[in-house]
């Protein structure tokens, strides 16, 4: 299971790298969002492993739970990446409104007006 998740994380990093290196601003932002998800999967496969205990929820008749800390980290990190993605989307939209383009190479060399 860990191997599978690790490979998946690798695939996500590949996809994200491709997107970040493209010229369209919106793709770059999507790339950063996917990049953060790759990191979340990595955190999940770190720690004490994926299936070494039951769900970390207080309930009757279940054994020792898995390490819940990675999940807490991921939740926090998801919230942060949600905020960052939202902000960069708004920023990209503003840039599009101001400059009329979302191509990064056309944004180059804008001097102060």
């Amino acid at each position: 299971m860990e191997t599978l998740i690790t490979i998946l994380a690798g695939v996500l990093v590949t996809v994200a790298t491709y997107l970040i290196l493209s010229k369209s601003l919106i793709r770059v932002i999507l790339g950063t969002a996917i990049l953060s998800h790759a990191a979340h999967l990595l955190i999940m496969s770190m720690g004490s492993g994926l299936k070494n205990g039951s769900v970390p929820i207080l309930d009757e008749g279940i054994g020792p739970p898995v390490d819940a800390l990675p999940q807490a980290l991921i939740l926090t990190s998801i919230v942060i990446s949600f905020a960052v993605t939202a902000l960069s989307l708004v920023l990209a939209y503003r840039t599009y409104q101001e400059t009329g383009t979302d191509k990064l190479d056309e944004l180059r060399g804008i001097k102060h007006e």
Binding site: I57, L75, L89, V90
Partner: protein
């Protein structure tokens, strides 16, 4: 832009209530089982976003006359404020406590201070999500 989509509007009226109920359920179950303020807030926001999509933004804004920016700020204030609450009792910052009460209708109920914190989180999420959606969609 005038939209006239009877099926969508009729379904949305019902579905919005189902989503809102789910949001409340997720919010309240969040203390000991999956759920919580963040997820509850997101679901609640999704109901609002659905209404914004189906009806005119103006119409929904008139029906729900809330400044969502201020709602988010109020939620953040509430969340951080609960941290200060523990200062009054001489406990470390962000301490929480819970107790069981016998309430009419509900019977023996667990009341926690975390719920206030979670309510703040939910308000922040609703406020922020709706603000983002509105600010991107408003000036097309």
């Amino acid at each position: 832009m005038k939209i006239n989509n009877v099926i969508l509007q009729t379904v949305a009226k019902i579905v919005a209530f189902i989503i809102l109920t789910l949001a409340v359920y997720l919010f309240l179950s969040g203390h000991n089982s999956p759920g919580g303020g963040f997820i509850g807030g997101l679901v609640l926001a999704s109901a609002l976003v659905l209404l914004f999509v189906v009806y005119d933004i103006e119409k929904v804004k008139n029906a729900i006359p809330v400044d969502f920016k201020k709602l988010a700020a109020f939620g953040a204030f509430l969340s951080v404020g609960t941290g200060f609450g523990s200062l009054l009792f001489g406990a470390p910052f962000l301490s929480q406590s819970f107790a069981y009460f016998d309430l009419p209708f509900f019977g023996k109920t667990e009341l926690t201070t975390v719920t206030i914190f979670e309510a703040g989180v939910a308000l922040v999420v609703v406020g922020v999500v709706v603000t983002i959606i509105l600010s991107i969609s408003e000036d097309v």
